[in-house]
Amino acid sequence: MDKFLVFTIVGLSTAAIYAIIASGLVVTYTTTGIFNFAHGATGMLAAFTYWQFTVKFGWSVWLSVVLVLLVLAPLFGMLLDRVIMRGLEGTSEATKLVVSISLLVAMIGLAQWIWEPGKARTVKPFFVGQKIDFGVTTITYHQAITIGVAVLVAIVLRLLLFSTRMGVAMRSVVDDRGLARLNGARTGVVSQFSWAFGTSLAALGGILIVSSAGLSAPVLSLLIVNAYAAAVFGRLRSLPMTFLGAIIIGCADGYLSGYLPAGNPYLPGLRLAAPVILLFIALLAMPNKQLRSHVRTREYFPAPSRRGIVMFTSLVFAFGMVLATTLSKPDLSTYAKIFAVGVVALSLVPLVGFAGQISLCQLSFAGIGAIVMAHLGEGGNPMGLVWAVVICALVGALVALPALRLSGIYLALATAAFAVVLDRWIFNLPNFRLGPVDISLFDQGSVAVKPLQVFGVKLGDPRSQMVVVVVLFVLVALFVMILHRSAFGRRLLAIRDSEAACATFGLNLLWARLSVFMLSAAIAGLGGAVYATQLSAITPTNFDFFSGLPIFMMVVVGGAGYVGGALFAGVGLQGFLPVIVKLWPSFAKFQTITPGLIGISLGKQPSGAAPQFSEGFAELRDDPPVLATMLVGFAGAWALRLAGIYQGWGMVVVMGAVFVGAAIAARSRASKRVPAESEGGDLSVEVPLEWVGVTVPWTAERLADVDRHLNLEEFAADVDEVSGGTREAIHAAP
């Protein structure tokens, strides 16, 4: 009984913290429509700041609490609202998601930049050592304060929402933002207040939890994922249900820590994973959503042309071969990751780009692929790759079947929950038997992976490994591009726009969604397997939830509907950043923040960067003679390098010069051609009538065409007789 009470109190104080954080999340989500993945990270920053004030500066606890909760946190919230969140109104859910995930990654990067990880930092609980004695049990002051504060937050929220002007305005914004605005609610002020208030709640939670959870940026940001589970219990809307959810999750945590049998190696992870498992269950209990219809998004991903496919694959292949033949051995190992991560990134193209689904667990599938390669690809047997593909597809189906009823933010949370369960529990399990099958994972540490061996040829040295991943990336990219042009690809693009319409044609939506999820998991598994052969030893941290987020972000930023988006992710994360760090070692500290900052900018260009690249080089692309000359130039620069004429960056400089020269030549040739075409008088160019004057210029031929369609011949002829110039004047008038 005594033990039970102790762990009830432990559970309730944990619950109190989750409730505080989750209610902040609910307040911002309902009033602004943005599910802030970075909410927990805000609490983490607050905890670090609190540590800085109390421990480093030695300021008093009270002063620090007041400064952080009532000054810094609200200011930070308002800043977020002003600078980032306000611009997201009217963008798709995926874009909002990427921006808030980017924010999360950037905040962790920021924290690790300011407060170097690895140093021991501790924060003492409030009133250390003081307890209230109830006879049967005791409760520490810190626990009592935590629980009391949560009750206070509940009361304040209730009063705020139902008895103040601001609260009424907040609730009206929840119901109908546009209508509230028409009725005089200042929605800008409301959202600013919500962000300030929500951020303060996150900070409060962060400060309360830090004494028990410890000061570590990823741990704190992730621990607070548990609070999301509580918010989902309230379906992200209901505050009382959110508090109830928090109590269930907090108490489950308390009792598991008290009653899980010690000494069993399989169970400790279960306690860490329990909140996330509860999150998964809560998500499954969500009501069936209505079929999605009528999604208006600004993204546009046209299928690549045959010529585009050939150009992309051959350019990437050539790029890979140049790298393979010119880089030093250590560099080869570094930059081969471009393509391995690129394959994992490619897995997102059909799923996110074509079908419009969201998955935050692709790197976890890659981890499973890596494990499979380690254990079933013994001695570098390529069958390991095949097994990785098959097993990941099956695991993908297992995740997808329950999760696919969900969409948008809930699907994102469910896949995140899966990834976190793997991180906290499954990946750390010792080997076990499942029926007749022996299952080995990371052997509770790291597992060695042998390089591939094909037909007796061992592809172990960095150079042949590079060639292997390049070939693999090119093949998978080719597959994805062909998929884009296929019936299946068109179907996915159709589902993205209107599930309702697809269903009325008799499409089995569940099967369509399931198959793309399996396909995507299989590609990720393949990427993970080949990545593992490069790493030669793999640990769970290679494949954890947080490491997967930048890949997701960069693909969306690069253009989720294009294989170029995946290449962008690979080059950006594993090529560009390492190069910068090599050139300017002091940049290393920014390395973790950069992807986050890039992601935050997404709202401006939702189709991503790839189409802009492609557009920017359009003149070059459409000018075969110049293009051919440029390629010959590249080949020449490469040949000179192979002949040993120059070393290091010389080739890059020469190639850069050739490229700039070609771009200038193409532009000048294009500008000479333009005058002939820009007339717009050529009626063979099909343009809807109402777009004449907008997409093509007015010309005499166009005018006559419009007249003909409007049956205006006679009228036009009459006018002509009176005065030759009038007709143009009439048409020009509007």
Partner: protein
């Protein structure tokens, strides 16, 4: 037995009654009109028939089979197709590919192995979209975009076809041509149900007209009967054309 029968369909959204005991039949070879002022429940009725909106009470029969609880997919496979008033086009695709998606899906479940590409060309020609076939669907004018919806529905070779304001945005010549197409479809034995605001078109093309108002059936009858009905005339306040 009519091909499509709705029996006392009732739909409530919270306290609002969108449909109240509405019944409707559609026979093969006929064009059945469904008219009424804005908010009368016409689109809700289509959503109920196609399975996108659950019934509070009532039943829907397709070819004698009770499909009241069947999914939209199941109903489509029984030969039901529809268009949407608020366009549900696949914005990333061309006009041709929009129709092709539907034709491919149809080929998947129907067992009809005719080359979908040929079928798509045929349908595009039939509804008059051949000239804009390769334009991105968002670039064609609304009138033609509605025809894309129709073409997609036709790609599923429907026996029952629900058309939700298909002629909005068309000029007189186009509407005339469209009326001809509707008669042709009915001639092929399709049961066509038409929601339309263009009274000339409805009166000209329909065999039977159902009038809805505030979620209730106001009247059912031939175009002549409907035009003579005093309740209908009142609801429309002189919008109806005079019987000639």
């Amino acid at each position: 037995m009519p091909l499509l029968e709705v029996r006392s369909a009732t739909v409530k959204f919270g306290g609002n009654i969108a449909l109240s005991e509405v019944s409707l039949v559609a026979e093969p070879g006929q064009v059945t009109g469904l008219i009424g002022p804005n908010g009368a429940g016409k689109t809700t009725m289509f959503n109920v028939i196609s399975g996108l909106q659950a019934l509070t009470s009532g039943q829907v029969f397709l070819d004698g089979q009770d499909v009241s609880r069947a999914s939209p997919t199941k109903r489509a496979r029984l030969g039901l197709a529809r268009t949407f008033q608020r366009l549900e086009l696949f914005t990333m695709l061309s006009v041709r590919d929009n129709v092709r998606v539907a034709a491919d899906i149809y080929r998947g479940w129907s067992g009809v192995k005719t080359d979908p590409a040929t079928r798509v060309d045929e349908i595009l020609g039939r509804v008059g979209l051949s000239e804009v076939a390769d334009m991105r669907v968002t670039a064609v004018p609304t009138g033609q975009a509605r025809l894309v919806e129709l073409a997609r529905a036709l790609a599923c070779a429907p026996r029952v076809l629900l058309l939700d304001e298909p002629a909005a945005g068309q000029d007189d010549t186009e509407t005339e041509r469209f009326a001809g197409l509707l008669r042709e479809l009915a001639g092929d034995g399709v049961a066509v149900v038409l929601v339309e605001h263009d009274v000339h078109l409805v009166v000209g093309v329909c065999d039977v007209i159902n009038v809805l108002d505030f979620g209730r059936v106001l009247a059912v009858g031939t175009p002549e009967q409907i035009q003579a009905d005093p309740a209908v005339r009142e609801a429309y306040l002189g919008v109806m054309v005079e019987p000639s």
